[in-house]
Symmetry: C2
Subunit: 193 residues, 2 copies
Amino acid sequence: MVRQPQINAQNRAPLSIERIIEAALRIVDGQGLGRLTMRRLGDALEVEAMAIYHHLPRGKEQLLDGLVAHVAAAPAAPASPADAASAAAPAGTLRAWARDYRARLLAHAGVLPLVVTRRNPAALTETVASLREVLRRGGVAEDAAAATAHTLLAYVIGHAALEVRNTDEDGADRAVDWDARFDAGLDQILRAS
Amino acid sequence: MVRQPQINAQNRAPLSIERIIEAALRIVDGQGLGRLTMRRLGDALEVEAMAIYHHLPRGKEQLLDGLVAHVAAAPAAPASPADAASAAAPAGTLRAWARDYRARLLAHAGVLPLVVTRRNPAALTETVASLREVLRRGGVAEDAAAATAHTLLAYVIGHAALEVRNTDEDGADRAVDWDARFDAGLDQILRAS
DNA sequence: ACCTGAACACCGTTCAAGT
DNA sequence: ACCTGAACACCGTTCAAGT
């Protein structure tokens, strides 16, 4: 009989960084960032809050870093450079990525304030690099690719921020079609690249 | 002898919302948002923390709303529509405003996470409206003006966010010239409008 | 009207102890 | 190795009290 390391004496799955991050994200999405506390997170995991420190020695700081990484680190292209389709249509790849990335940010709007912080600077590095690579493969020169990658990412993050704040149409009650507006601005930027 | 209402018995200027917001901003800029507490703010104002609640009944929530308003509510044009110069060169007005707005966000980078929250939705309404007005006066159609105003504001906020995180050049150590990069993206967006 | 002081319910984190 | 329980220093906020 092989022992089962994933079940402990109390018949509970042991803690892991993945389970902790997922539970934290569930709290942030459901109740807001302000209600994410170590004690509440412990409750959600059916564990004392102090047990979390065994897996995240840097404590809450490390927890928030993990949330940023989980939400904002989405590459614009598969790691394999053998993907011929994306090389053929870089604008389409960028458009699809931008839509997905925006959807992710809006689905986890509570972590947006964390994305806009100095914390976990490595979280977006991969994303920016993959954007540059897609552009470069599409025939864009190195310097222009670097610039456009930042412009595009800035637009997507900033647009998500405006949507979350729901900045309305100058007081007129007519609602904004954010989906259409996002696509319009996105096309404007991709066209000008 | 006229009594001086601005000096109380302890020879201290009385509290005011303006003085409170300024002191709070000084703490955020100098020590970071995480160190802005009601007690520390009280210390900076040489008052007990509880005195602040007399001026901000909604407490810390209202304090943070005030910080967002103070940093992010900057109109793109003077209130008077008689300013002929801005009507003549809307692109120049927008460019100058965008540069100033970016500088403000970076000067108070600690409040950026607050700007990206649902709090104080009215804080950006005036800004968006003035952007639309500048565009409309420049001959841009109503719908296009509304769309471009959001695209531009999204870009400026998102770019400031990237700068604060200092997302570097894909691991290569060569530093990014953020000023030049901001202007390049800005021109791209204004050209495409 | 404006501010103080004590109190309350919470928070992140440390540390010794259990298994 | 992994988790618990008590403890510590702090936090936002309420409330009765002072002037």
